[in-house]
């Protein structure tokens, strides 16, 4: 994802090369933040915060291969903080109209490319009642397609805790689908 030489240059304070690192890392961080938070603006903020932290902690990167996991971990931790704030601020409610939109998409075979607004709405509807940990495991496993070893490294949970959180996340979402669709 990011080459060793590029990281070395950045460690020496080369901001020009760090711009390349930002360019390569931004899509990854934005996607995971967007999916965890269900909010485009908040996801942009997470990307910026994460990249500033990456710059400050460049010395902590052991190998270029571990960069992706390391960046994921920073971003997920920032999302946890954001989710805790959001939890205090708002409790979202969704009505019949929103579930109808989902139903229409599923009846089309589920191959629709969602726009950001719809995408955020559906994620929020499905994960609104999940805990931050369940949300993180659901996003990383089901949407990002990471294996359990990577999720263990990113979240710092044990393997069994990852499995348990994923089980409850699936169960919770399954119950919602059963109820509304």
């Amino acid at each position: 994802m990011v080459e060793k030489e590029l990281i070395e240059e950045c460690r020496n304070g080369d901001l020009h090369n760090f711009r390349k690192v930002v360019e390569k890392s931004t899509p990854l961080i934005f996607t995971v933040a967007f999916r965890m938070l269900g909010d485009e603006d908040a996801a942009y903020d997470i990307v910026q915060d994460t990249m500033v932290t990456v710059w400050q902690k460049l010395d902590e990167i052991k190998t270029a291969a571990s960069y992706k996991t390391w960046v994921y971990r920073i971003a997920v931790n920032k999302c946890y903080d954001q989710l805790r704030k959001q939890k205090r601020q708002k409790e979202e409610r969704f009505g019949e109209r929103e579930w109808e939109i989902i139903s229409n998409h599923l009846s089309e075979g589920g191959n629709t490319e969602l726009e950001n607004m719809e995408n955020a709405m559906i994620i929020n509807m499905l994960t609104n009642r999940l805990s931050p940990r369940q949300k993180a495991v659901f996003v990383l496993s089901e949407l990002e397609g990471l294996d359990s070893d990577e999720i263990v490294k990113i979240t710092g949970m044990t393997r069994s805790l990852v499995k348990a959180n994923l089980y409850y996340a699936r169960k919770n979402i399954g119950q919602l689908l059963k109820k509304y669709l």
Binding site: V52, L106, G110, I122
Partner: protein
């Protein structure tokens, strides 16, 4: 496969395929670089303030002068300590124990005592002399009287070569005559 499972799989597939669109990623890059630069700048301002306060210590001739003054101060301190230790050693060699009658004395009496101590040390350096304070006062008074009465004696002897040679001869004879005591 149940209906809920089917809906769940289709929904997850739809979300996984719909990666959120990232608009104007260059804005994020610029914002990240700007934030890093402003952080660097604020830390640079702090170090500039420190330099303004203490930067003068890096001026060559100031450093050399400070080193020179420090060495001089250390040398003066060492010399003073050595001088004090030497004086203390001299005084401790001249102590005469005068029993339990020791008491505080005036400066003129102290002068007398010092004179006597020097005299006794010269006469018998290895012996300890015990004498009461009243007897000591008496001895010192008579010593003073002698000094007053015969203060011109040495001058008269020096000025008269005949008298001088006579006294020298008498002293020589006294030295040669040592009666058994």
């Amino acid at each position: 496969m149940t209906k809920e499972n089917d809906n769940y799989d289709r929904l997850v597939r739809m979300l996984r395929n719909s990666r959120p669109d990232l608009f104007r990623p260059e804005n994020i890059e610029n914002e990240v670089i700007k934030r890093i630069q402003s952080r660097n700048q604020s830390s640079g301002m702090f170090s500039g303030f420190i330099d303004a306060l203490f930067g003068w210590v890096y001026i060559g001739w100031v450093r050399r002068s400070l080193i020179g003054v420090s060495v001089l101060l250390v040398a003066i301190f060492v010399y003073q300590q050595a001088f004090i230790i030497r004086q203390v050693n001299n005084i401790s060699k001249q102590v005469v124990i005068i029993g339990s009658e020791s008491s505080s004395v005036s400066s003129s009496a102290l002068d007398k005592r010092l004179a006597l101590y020097r005299l006794t040390v010269r006469l018998s350096p290895d012996r300890e002399i015990r004498i009461s304070e009243s007897r000591l006062e008496e001895l010192l008074d008579s010593y003073d009287d002698l000094q007053v009465k015969y203060k011109d004696l040495l001058r008269i002897i020096e000025e008269d070569p005949e008298l001088k040679s006579y006294i020298e001869n008498r002293l020589k004879e006294d030295k040669e005559y040592k009666p058994d005591i």
